[in-house]
């Protein structure tokens, strides 16, 4: 296993609210990978809890790093792309 990272940007006009947070956690649980959101100057947040993701209060236009622990880079990039899709609003 290796850790791959990529940056995502929140485009949803209300920020990372209940719906995208729920979609992300559902994806993380279905895939079973360890996914962590890393924002500068903060403790990383495991993406297995919608409530924790909402509590990050990420606003529209903010960017943060997503790290995925998985065997191959293509799978990791696929997961990150999906997360970006959920954050488009």
């Amino acid at each position: 296993m290796a850790v791959f990272t990529g940056e995502v940007e929140v485009l949803d006009p209300i920020g990372m609210h209940a719906r995208p947070a729920g979609q992300i956690v559902k994806l993380v649980k279905e895939t079973g990978y360890d996914v962590v959101f890393i924002r500068d100057g903060e403790e990383p947040t495991k993406a297995n809890s919608a409530l924790r993701l909402m509590a990050m209060k990420v606003k529209t236009g903010e960017k943060f790093v997503v790290s995925v622990e998985v065997d191959d880079e293509a799978t990791a990039m696929g997961v990150i792309a999906q997360i970006q899709e959920f954050l488009k609003g």
């Binding site: 006009p13 209940a18 719906r19 956690v25 297995n48 809890s49 409530l51 924790r52 909402m54 209060k57």
Partner: protein
């Protein structure tokens, strides 16, 4: 005939059903230390969470799509790993299950604080916390009503959360408290549910007893049959013109379409708050124009009276950052927002002018919560500088009620909001269910004030309308016409019956009915005298 309980009737439909007493929500037990160990507490917690999940599933299946989506999100949070981790920590420290889950929900509620986008989610979390703790304690928080049957709900008063759970089985409602403008009354009138509120002896009704809910008779009869229901005054359906126009109260394009299917002559009150209360940022002028044009286009033929934003700290608009107030109904609300938010009100008028041009409709605009002639003049000047409107104000404060003569040449019309005028005239909080009887429109204090406003408005050459709940009662609408009102505006569901009433009397008859109402020394005798004169 069985016992007869007096109250205030809501609407004209009677119903017979069996009593279903709704107990006041039981308090949740205090949190404590576990006596059975963390593992056993976690088992109890999981059982409670499963039970709440099932309840949310059931609620979701009988909700509209938006509400169902909220229930789906709430189900997901119940199973949230972050939440359960915090609960586990508290269990490990010796808490009982209720304390552990309560602390876990509180932890997230605190994290969500201070962000407008999450305010409603905090309420959802607290609701979940309450539901899980209630399930652990074996007490009920929901109404849990059956879908079928003929139920008459009996309770202290019903909140929006309660009425949202009413099923088609609810044919009648009886409350011990609450007045004619309470949430319960408004919902029951809109849905055609027979209701009698302010029934002091409601506590004597027992589960399963058959009762007649007789709103026209302002009473509940134990063991009564529909045949005993007081007949509403029969106003024959007629094509004749009503003595004054009957308009409709609306808040959305869907309401406008509903109103257009009635005999309404235009719209007497278009509440514009709905466009803003759920928006996290101010809609652009283009967005506002499109929303208004949709409503104007769908509205019934005739003038459309638009009320500018009527928000306050109890009905906050997220993007206006309204601070908390101790007494929101006496605070910065309605037109008073102009001090801090002049541009917002100007934008609203600009959007209305654009929508008016687009649709070619006749638009009147009015400002709520006006207390002085200077405020009325300020609004009139602003509105006339922006659009081609007839300009007016709402009459809700006693202060402006006494100065209608001075509005000559200042505004074109006034519209009386009887719900708020009663609240301010009687110093009786509309939200306090114990004060419902003071808010009865048949109270002599209100009728005398309405007489003064009507008389002064006519002398000043100002058109006077009424758009409060009181105008939805056909008999009271006749009184209003007799007091000199130039139009009334009612809920769409009541427009036809009010119009029939006002088409079946002459102006002279209406004046006689109003004089009869003025002779009453209390609400009951005012109403009885007016009804007797009407029946003559």
């Amino acid at each position: 005939m069985g016992a007869e309980l007096k109250g205030l009737g809501v609407g004209l439909t009677a119903a017979v059903g069996s009593v279903h007493v709704v107990a006041p929500a039981q308090p949740l037990p205090a949190w404590g230390k576990s006596t059975i160990g963390a593992a056993a507490e976690m088992e109890r917690l999981k059982v409670a969470i499963a039970a709440v999940t099932q309840t949310l599933d059931e609620l979701g299946t009988r909700s509209d799509a938006t509400t169902a989506e909220i229930f789906e999100a709430m189900k997901m949070w119940l199973d949230d790993e972050g939440l359960l981790e915090i609960a586990q920590e508290h269990l490990d420290e010796g808490s009982d299950a209720a304390g552990a889950i309560g602390e876990a929900f509180n932890a997230f509620a605190v994290m969500f604080e201070g962000d407008a986008a999450f305010e409603e989610r905090i309420a959802d979390l607290q609701d979940l916390s309450r539901r899980v703790q209630a399930s652990l304690a074996g007490i009920s928080v929901g109404l849990d009503l059956p879908q079928t049957g003929q139920l008459v709900l009996v309770g202290e008063d019903f909140s929006p959360a309660d009425t949202a759970q009413f099923t088609p089985a609810v044919v009648g409602v009886i409350t011990r408290a609450g007045g004619p403008t309470s949430h319960t009354a408004i919902i029951c009138r809109a849905r055609g549910i027979a209701a009698v509120v302010s029934v002091a002896d409601a506590g004597s009704l027992v589960d399963g007893a058959s009762v007649l809910v007789d709103p026209v008779g302002d009473r509940v009869v134990v063991g009564g049959s529909l045949a005993e229901a007081t007949k509403p005054l029969e106003f024959a359906v007629t094509d004749a013109e009503s003595i004054i126009p009957v308009r409709a109260n609306i808040g959305t394009a869907a309401d406008a379409a509903t109103a257009a299917a009635t005999t309404a002559n235009g719209v007497g009150l278009f509440r514009t708050e709905l466009l803003y209360l759920s928006a996290s940022s101010q809609p652009s002028i283009e967005q506002q124009t499109a929303s208004y044009a949709e409503v104007l286009a769908a509205a019934p033929a005739g003038p459309i009276v638009v009320r500018t934003i009527d928000a306050g700290s109890d009905k906050p608009v997220p993007f206006l950052n309204m601070p908390h107030e101790e007494n929101p109904s006496l605070g910065v609300r309605g037109f008073r927002l102009i001090v801090e938010h002049r541009q917002f009100i100007a934008d609203q008028l600009t959007s209305l002018e654009a929508a008016r041009k687009q649709t070619g409709r006749e638009v009147w605009v009015m400002a709520p919560m006006i207390a002085t002639v200077a405020e009325a003049a300020e609004f009139a000047e602003l509105a006339r500088s922006i659009g081609n409107f007839k300009v007016g104000i709402m009459i809700e404060t006693p202060a402006i009620s006494l100065q209608v003569d001075r509005l000559a040449g200042v505004v074109d019309f006034v519209s009386i909001g009887t719900n708020d005028l009663s609240q301010y005239l009687f110093a009786a909080d509309r939200m306090n269910p114990a004060l419902g009887a003071l808010l009865n429109p048949w109270q002599p204090g209100l009728i005398r004030m309405l007489q003064k406003i009507g008389t002064d408005g006519n002398a000043a050459g100002i058109s006077v309308g009424v758009c409060g709940e009181s105008a939805s009662d056909p008999a009271f609408a006749v009184v209003l016409a007799g007091l000199g009102m130039n139009s009334v505006s009612a809920s769409p569901s009541q427009v036809n019956v009010v119009r029939n009433a006002l088409a079946s009397v002459t102006a002279d008859k209406a004046r006689a009915v109003a004089q009869a109402a003025l002779s009453g020394v209390d609400a009951a005798s005012a109403k009885a005298a007016a009804l007797a004169e009407l029946a003559r």
